[in-house]
C-alpha cells in the first residue's frame, strides 16, 4: 500500500511572504502600531484578557507546531505536552533561581522544552509519518503524567497546580491586563520575526526539502536525521514559551490538565485550518479556533435567548463547529491563508473576474 505523504506543493510556501512583502514596510508598521498602541488603549479588559491574549498565545503555539509539521513534515500530536514542559520549567526557574528576570526565565523554559522535544524527536530517525505521530502521542501522555505525579515540579502544592509568580520586568508590574497583553505580544512578535527568518534560511530550506521528500533530501546531502531533530527542538522551544504564556499570562495558573490531548488537537487544528507551511496561517487559524466558539455562543444567545434549551444550543454549536472544520478542510485544503489570498486577488481585479 502506498501512503500519500502529508505534503504541500512548494509553490505556496512563500505566498504569505510575498503577500506581506509587497506592502511590507507600511503595512507592518501599521499593524504593529495597532497591536502595541491602539489595542491596549482601546481594548477593554475582556478583550485583552479573554480574546487577544489567548489568541496570541495560540498563534505562537501554532507557529511552533507549524515549524515541525508544516515546514518539516513531521506530524505531531504532542504539542500540549511540550507546552506543559515550558510552563512548568518557567515556573521552576522563577521559583528556584532567585532574581532571575522574567524574559530569561521564559527563555530558559523554552530551552528546557526544546531539549525535551529533542529527546522525543529521536524516534524520528527510524519512524516516519503516521507512526511518528503516535510516538508524539506517547510524549503527550507521558509528560502529562510526569507533571501530575511528581510534586517537585509544582513545588509540593497539594493540588498539583502552579500559579503565576509575580510578573515583573525591570520593576514594572506586568500583572495588569495591559501588562500581560504587552508581554505576550512582545514575545509573539520577536518569535515570529525569528521564525520568518529561520524558514528562509538554510535551515528552513533543508526542512522543506525533508518535508517534500526526505529520501531525496538525503541524496542531495542534507543530514536528514539531524535536521528532523532540530525541527523537534525548535518546535518544542516555541511551544514551551507558548505554554508558559498560556499558564501565566492567560490563565494565571496551570496544572497538567491544562495541557491535555485536546489542547494538542486544538493546535493541530490551528495549523491545518490556518494553513500548513505558512507563518500568517497560524494567526488566522488561531483566530478561527479561539473566536468561533465565543462567536457561536454570542450568536446563540442573541438569536435564541430563552427560547431554546441551553443544553441543546450547546450541542448545536458543537455540531456547527465540527461542520465548519470539515467544510474548511474540503473547501480549502491549503487553509484559510490561501482563501484570504484568493480573495485578495479577486478584489484586486474586481469587477473583472481574472
Amino acid at each position: 500500500m502506498t501512503t500519500t505523504a502529508a505534503r504541500l506543493t512548494a509553490r505556496f510556501d512563500d505566498a504569505p511572504l510575498t503577500l506581506v512583502a509587497r506592502h511590507r514596510p507600511l503595512g507592518l508598521a501599521l499593524l504593529l502600531l495597532l497591536a502595541f498602541v491602539v489595542l491596549p488603549l482601546l481594548g477593554s479588559d475582556y478583550w485583552l484578557n479573554a480574546i487577544l491574549i489567548p489568541f496570541l498565545v495560540l498563534s505562537l503555539a501554532g507557529l511552533g507546531l507549524n515549524l515541525l509539521t508544516g515546514y518539516t513534515g513531521q506530524t505531531s500530536v504532542g504539542a500540549a505536552g511540550f507546552m506543559a514542559v515550558g510552563a512548568f520549567a518557567t515556573y521552576g526557574l522563577l521559583l528556584r533561581v532567585p532574581g532571575l528576570p522574567l524574559p530569561l526565565a521564559l527563555l530558559g523554559g523554552g530551552l528546557i522544552a526544546g531539549v525535551v522535544g529533542l529527546v522525543f524527536g529521536l524516534p524520528s530517525s527510524r519512524i516516519k509519518g503516521f507512526y511518528l505521530m503516535v510516538t508524539t502521542l506517547a510524549a503527550q501522555f507521558f509528560l502529562e503524567w510526569v507533571f501530575a505525579k511528581f510534586a517537585w515540579f509544582y513545588n509540593y502544592a497539594s493540588s498539583g497546580t502552579i500559579s503565576a509568580p509575580r510578573l515583573e520586568l525591570f520593576g514594572h508590574n506586568l500583572a495588569t491586563p495591559v501588562g500581560r497583553y504587552l508581554l505576550t505580544l512582545s514575545c509573539v512578535v520577536v518569535l515570529t520575526w525569528v521564525a520568518v527568518n529561520l524558514v528562509r534560511s538554510q535551515v528552513g530550506r533543508n526542512w522543506m526539502a525533508i518535508r517534500d521528500m526526505d529520501t531525496a533530501a538525503a541524496v542531495i546531502g542534507i543530514q536528514v536525521e539531524r535536521y528532523k531533530r532540530l525541527a523537534f527542538a525548535v518546535s518544542a522551544f516555541y511551544l514551551g514559551i507558548a505554554g508558559a504564556l498560556w499558564a501565566f499570562a492567560y490563565l494565571g495558573t496551570a496544572s497538567a490538565g491544562s495541557f491535555d490531548i485536546n489542547r494538542s488537537f486544538q493546535i493541530l487544528f490551528i495549523i491545518i485550518i490556518g494553513g500548513m507551511g505558512s507563518i500568517a496561517g497560524n494567526f488566522i487559524g488561531a483566530a478561527f479556533i479561539s473566536l468561533t466558539p465565543i462567536l457561536l455562543s454570542h450568536a446563540g444567545q442573541w438569536l435564541f435567548n430563552g427560547h431554546v434549551d441551553a443544553g441543546q444550543l450547546q450541542n448545536l454549536q458543537k455540531i456547527l463547529f465540527g461542520s465548519l472544520i470539515i467544510w474548511f478542510l474540503i473547501k480549502e485544503p491549503e487553509g484559510l491563508v490561501r482563501l484570504l489570498g484568493n480573495l485578495r486577488e479577486r478584489i484586486r481585479v474586481w469587477p473583472l473576474r481574472f
Binding site: S158, S159, G252, T253, F288, H298, G311, Q314, L340, L343
Partner: protein, 446 residues
C-alpha cells in the same frame, strides 16, 4: 466561480467582522443583580452539570417570582458553556465579571476546583467572591489570606475527616481505629490528591494504616487497582473518584469481592450518576453528602408548587427533581441569596458589587430558625462564616444507595476542624509568603 466567490466573501466576513458586532446587543436593566453561570451542559461532565444548573436556576426563579427578588432586587443570569474546561471558565469570568447591562456581578460560581485555582488571583484583584461549595482551594478557608475565595460548607480536608469520623462511629469509637487498614482509592488529579495530607495526619492521630492507591484519569479500567485492594484486605475503602471512575470503581470492587457497604464515597462520588451505571453492584454503597439527595424537604414542596408544576423549571426531565446534583444547585443558590440578603442589611436593598457581597458572605449566619424559614432544614447544617473561616459548616451527612435512591443514614457528622486548622494555616501562610500578601487582621474586622 461567482458562487464560490460569494461564499468566500461571506466566510471571511463571518470570520473577521462578526465578533465586533455581536456583543453590542443590550437591553437596559435597573435594580437587577447579575449572576454569571459557567455551565457545562455538554461534554464529559454534562450529566452532573445539567441538574446542577437547573437547581440553581430554579431557585433563582423561585426567588424572583414568588418572593419578588431579594428584597425587591431581581436576579438575572447568563450562561456560558465551558464543558468544564478551565480556560473557558476563565473566559466566561472575564466576559461577565463586570456584570451585564448595568446589573453588577456580586459573585462567581466557579463550581470547578481547577477553575477556582485559575481564578484565585483574578478574583482577589477584581474583588469578585469565588464560590465553590465543597470544593475549591482548601487553604482558602483562611479568609485572612484569601479574602475572595469561599470553599463553602466542607473543604477537602473536612471531607477526609468526616469520612474517618464516620468510620470511627461505625467501628464504635476512635480507639477502635487503631490498627485498622483504610485504603483510599483516588482519582489521580489535584482533586484526588488533596486529601493525602489530612489522611496522613489523621492516621498518625488515630493509629490506622493509611494506604493510597491512585486511579489514572479517566479510570475506565481499574482491575489492577482493585486487585491490589483485594490483596491488602482493607477494613474500609474511601473512594475519592470523579466522573466515570466512580461506577467503574464500584463495579470492579464488586468483581473482586470487596464488600460494597465498606466503601465510603466522598462528596463527588456520591450522586445518582455515580451509582446507576454500576447497577446492583452499588447497592449498599455509602457516600458523604454535604448536599443530601431527596425531594421531601420543605423547599422542594415550595418549588414543586411554584416552579415545577407551573412548567417553569429548567429541568428537561422532571425525574431529576431532588436528585443529588439538583440539590447541590439549590444549596449553592440559597447560600448565595442569603449572603446577598445579609449584605443588603448593611449596604441597602440594591444590587451589590463584589466587595459588598464579600462582606455579606463573611457575615453570613444561617441559624436553625433561618434554615427552617427558607425551607432547607435537613439539607444544610447551620452555617456561619467569618473573615477567618470561609468554610462554615464543616459537616456532612452520610447517605446509602438502596438500589433505587439515596437514603440518609446519619445526621450531620462533624469534621474535626480543630485538628485540621493548623495544616490549613501553614498552607495559607506559605501562599501568602509566595505571593507577598499581608494577611488581613481578622480580629479587627469582626
Amino acid at each position: 466561480m461567482r458562487k464560490t466567490l460569494r461564499r468566500h466573501l461571506l466566510a471571511s466576513l463571518f470570520l473577521l467582522g462578526a465578533p465586533t458586532l455581536l456583543p453590542a446587543i443590550a437591553a437596559a436593566a435597573d435594580n437587577q443583580q447579575f449572576v454569571p453561570m459557567a455551565t457545562y451542559r455538554v461534554g464529559a461532565y454534562a450529566s452532573s452539570g445539567i441538574p446542577w444548573w437547573a437547581g440553581e436556576i430554579d431557585y433563582f426563579r423561585y426567588i424572583n417570582e414568588v418572593e419578588g427578588g431579594i428584597n425587591g432586587v431581581k436576579l438575572t443570569w447568563q450562561e456560558c458553556e465551558t464543558e468544564w474546561n478551565v480556560d473557558r471558565i476563565v473566559e466566561c469570568y472575564e466576559r461577565y465579571k463586570n456584570g451585564q447591562d448595568g446589573a453588577p456581578t456580586a459573585f462567581f460560581f466557579t463550581h470547578s476546583t481547577p477553575g477556582s485555582y485559575a481564578l484565585m488571583e483574578k478574583g482577589a484583584a477584581d474583588r469578585i467572591p469565588l464560590i465553590d461549595g465543597a470544593g475549591g482551594r482548601t487553604e482558602s478557608t483562611d479568609g485572612s489570606v484569601f479574602p475572595y475565595a469561599f470553599p463553602l460548607l466542607l473543604n477537602y480536608y473536612g471531607q477526609a475527616s468526616v469520612g474517618i469520623n464516620y468510620i470511627a462511629e461505625r467501628e464504635g469509637g476512635f480507639d477502635k481505629l487503631k490498627g485498622k487498614k483504610i485504603v483510599t482509592v483516588y482519582h489521580d488529579s489535584a482533586y484526588g490528591r488533596e486529601t493525602q495530607a489530612p489522611m496522613q495526619l489523621l492516621a498518625q492521630k488515630y493509629g490506622f494504616e493509611n494506604i493510597q492507591i491512585p486511579v489514572a484519569d479517566p479510570g475506565n479500567e481499574q482491575s489492577a487497582q482493585w486487585r491490589q485492594v483485594r490483596q491488602l484486605k482493607p477494613d474500609w475503602v474511601f473512594l475519592r473518584t470523579w466522573g466515570v471512575s466512580t461506577p467503574v470503581g464500584i463495579k470492579t470492587a464488586a468483581r473482586f469481592g470487596i464488600p460494597v457497604d465498606h466503601i465510603i464515597g466522598d462528596v463527588w462520588a456520591g450522586s445518582e450518576a455515580d451509582v446507576i451505571p454500576a447497577g446492583t453492584a452499588a447497592k449498599g454503597y455509602q457516600a458523604l453528602a454535604p448536599f443530601p439527595g431527596g425531594s421531601d424537604f420543605a423547599i422542594h414542596q415550595r418549588l414543586r408548587q411554584h416552579i415545577l408544576d407551573t412548567g417553569k423549571s429548567d429541568l428537561k426531565d422532571p425525574s431529576y427533581f431532588g436528585k443529588v446534583y439538583y440539590n447541590i444547585g439549590l444549596i449553592n443558590a440559597a447560600i448565595a441569596v442569603e449572603a446577598l440578603r445579609t449584605a443588603q442589611g448593611k449596604f441597602g436593598n440594591r444590587p451589590l458589587n463584589g466587595e459588598e457581597a464579600r462582606w455579606g458572605f463573611e457575615h453570613l449566619n444561617i441559624d436553625a430558625a433561618r434554615l427552617k424559614a427558607i425551607g432547607f432544614e435537613g439539607l444544610l447544617p447551620p452555617l456561619k462564616l467569618s473573615c477567618s473561616d470561609h468554610e462554615g459548616g464543616g459537616a456532612a451527612r452520610v447517605q446509602q444507595w438502596d438500589g433505587e435512591k439515596w437514603v440518609l443514614v446519619t445526621d450531620w457528622v462533624q469534621a474535626d476542624r480543630a485538628t485540621l486548622r493548623p495544616l490549613i494555616e501553614a498552607k495559607s501562610a506559605a501562599y501568602a509568603k509566595e505571593k507577598g500578601i499581608t494577611p488581613r487582621d481578622c480580629a479587627s474586622e469582626q
